[in-house]
């Protein structure tokens, strides 16, 4: 059966090429482009998600406030700076990005970090990364266990925007050192704060580590950033605009993918219709000479399958070209490194969708071929 199909295909190849080479080439290219865009899009969409999840380095300087002048823990504010007895860390009342932070050990006051905590804009659940800057020393010695704790203050309006309520469990974790400590976002003396057990902290002296605060129930940043903006937070640079752009691009790509799959479907369909139209008599002749429907359908389907596989191969190359192109555009326009990580499954995906479309088309096509009347070979030729 297969060898019959291939032998007939070998004979028929020339006529098909002769009769409709240009058409086949155009269809093949459109199909390639369609599959390519699709494969690229399905790559891009998850990539956008990762990209948005990772947050943006030059980010969102999101200040942490202990509400107004009220300090949660014991310490004193002197000349606009907050001092606190170790092991507590505190902030100046309106802490800004790159503000200095001081910590006192007994009598001596040291500047432990030149730069303060900045909250790094990140996405789902992770509402902020906390940067502990170079030189910060966190003591593992807990004088007064078990109630040593570390407080991070979130302005309640921010917490609200982020969907974090008092009582929620938050986690502080470090991607680089793989440790996480859970704490409760709670209200102490009227000031909501994230309070976590201190003892798990280890010395980070000399390291530049990112910490992320993660809230179990926090909303996705994509959803909250307009709210955050409305209460006065601004993203660093043009991040809001970029995020908006990326989000719409994401939907656009999904629509594009759908259109592309549809286009591929139509092209395959049309190739088959055109084959039926131009080779109708020949199909009837094959049947006259004793060919079974499945052999005839298989013969033309082998062409479609070959075109599909060729188009798919071109498409894979194309999607890598698009990847490079898009990455370059991203860095040129927005100035960030956007790596589209092409995954095997996003390449395999269009292949299987294509194969599924082909399988469905094959059944329809076979039906149509079986509907060709043998006597049609007598239709006026040429």
């Amino acid at each position: 059966m297969i060898s019959k199909i291939l032998d007939l295909a070998g004979a028929e190849f020339k006529s098909i090429v002769k009769q409709s080479l240009l058409f086949l080439v155009i269809c093949g290219l459109v199909l390639s482009a369609a599959i390519g865009v699709f494969s690229f899009s399905v790559n891009l969409v998850p990539n956008y998600a990762t990209f948005l999840n990772q947050g943006v380095d030059n980010g969102f300087d999101f200040n942490v406030y202990p509400d107004d002048e009220k300090m949660f823990f014991k310490g004193s504010a002197v000349a606009g700076q907050s001092y606190v007895t170790a092991p507590f860390i505190t902030y100046s009342t309106t802490l800004h990005y790159r503000d200095a932070i001081y910590e006192t050990y007994g009598a001596s006051t040291e500047i432990l970090s030149g730069r303060a905590y900045i909250f790094k804009e990140t996405l789902p659940r992770v509402f902020q990364g906390v940067r502990v800057v170079k030189g910060t020393l966190w003591s593992t010695e807990d004088n007064g266990k078990p109630d040593g704790y570390f407080n991070i203050f979130l302005r309640d309006t921010v917490a609200e925007c982020l969907g974090i309520r008092v009582g929620d469990t938050l986690t502080i974790w470090s991607g680089s050192t793989q440790y996480a400590v859970k704490g409760i976002y709670e209200s102490r003396e009227g000031i909501p704060a994230f309070v976590m057990s201190y003892q798990a902290c280890v010395s980070r002296a000399g390291n530049d580590i990112w910490y992320y605060l993660e809230a179990d129930n926090a909303e996705k940043m994509i959803n909250v950033y307009p709210k955050l903006r409305s209460i006065g937070f601004e993203l660093g640079g043009t991040m809001f605009a970029e995020m908006g752009l990326m989000i719409s691009a994401r939907y656009l790509l999904i629509v594009l993918s759908a259109m592309v799959v549809f286009a591929a479907f139509m092209i395959l369909n049309n190739i088959l219709s055109i084959i039926l139209y131009y080779r109708h008599q020949f199909i009837a002749k094959l049947k006259l000479l004793g060919a079974e429907t499945s052999v005839v359908a298989g013969l033309y389907f082998s062409f479609v399958t070959i075109s599909f596989v060729l188009a798919y191969t071109i498409a894979v190359v194309l999607s890598f070209v698009m990847k490079l192109y898009y990455e370059n555009i991203a860095s040129a326009l927005f100035g960030f490194n956007f790596v589209i990580d092409i995954k095997w499954y996003t390449l395999v995906c269009p292949f299987f969708i294509g194969a599924a479309i082909l399988a469905v088309r094959f059944i329809r096509f076979k039906k149509k071929v079986s509907g060709v009347r043998i006597l049609d070979f007598m239709r006026d030729e040429q």
């Binding site: 060898s3 032998d7 006259l288 004793g290 060919a291 079974e292």
Partner: protein
């Protein structure tokens, strides 16, 4: 042996054949004659399993064909019958060789064996030198010889020829008729539709149709 039993064919309300009963023996050379529209082609197509009867049955070597599956009918068309038509119906874009190769591929003959079979078939119609030519460039007479060669590739028992000389001049008609006579001598059953009464002298039996019915059936005229 072909047994036609109460065979009728309607095209809509029009009755092209009505209750035909015929028995054609193996090895017979039968000519089908009759006016235009009398149902000759229709009958031949029904015998060749390229159309389906409205009523009645055709038995090929004692086997009823009305109940046959498409697959079985395909097999009959491929191996049992050889078809020759007035308008040749070669695939004009294909070479002579490929035209002859198609039925062999369908039959499942291995590639190595095909070449010999094709060459022999072309030899028997005197077309062996035109192997590589495209069918479109052949003359009418040559096309019909190639068509006959194609009909012979699968070594059929029965040749169904619908006005094989209809498009040919007398010289080429004679070539074709002589070929059919040779095939008959080799034991093939031949059923040939013809308009030309002088061609009936090649046949051992002449059946005349009129308005879809057999009006005359003469053996050894």
């Amino acid at each position: 042996m072909i047994e036609i039993e109460d065979l009728s064919k309607n095209f809509g309300a029009f009755r092209a054949l009505s209750e035909i009963n015929l028995k054609i023996e193996k090895g017979e050379f039968t000519a089908l004659v009759g006016d235009s529209g009398s149902g000759k082609s229709t009958l031949l197509n029904l015998i060749g399993q390229i159309d389906e009867p409205t009523e009645g049955d055709i038995l090929i070597d004692g086997v009823s064909t009305v109940k046959m599956s498409e697959k079985e009918k395909s097999k009959l068309r491929n191996g049992k019958f050889g078809f020759v038509f007035q308008a040749f119906y070669l695939e004009s874009g294909y070479s002579v060789y490929k035209n002859l190769e198609i039925p062999l591929i369908i039959k499942g003959v291995p590639k190595k064996e095909r070449t010999d079979i094709i060459k022999n078939a072309l030899n028997s119609v005197g077309m062996e030198t035109k192997l590589r030519l495209t069918a479109a460039v052949l003359s009418g007479g040559e096309k019909q010889r190639v068509a006959i060669a194609r009909a012979l590739t699968c070594d059929p028992e029965i040749i169904l020829a619908d006005e094989p000389c209809g498009n040919l001049d007398s010289k080429n008609s004679k070539i074709v008729l002589d070929l059919l006579r040779d095939l008959h001598k080799k034991g093939k059953t031949i059923i040939m539709v013809t308009h030309n009464l002088t061609h009936t002298k090649y046949a051992g039996r002449v059946i005349r149709l009129s308005d879809g019915a057999v009006v005359n059936d003469i053996k050894n005229p």
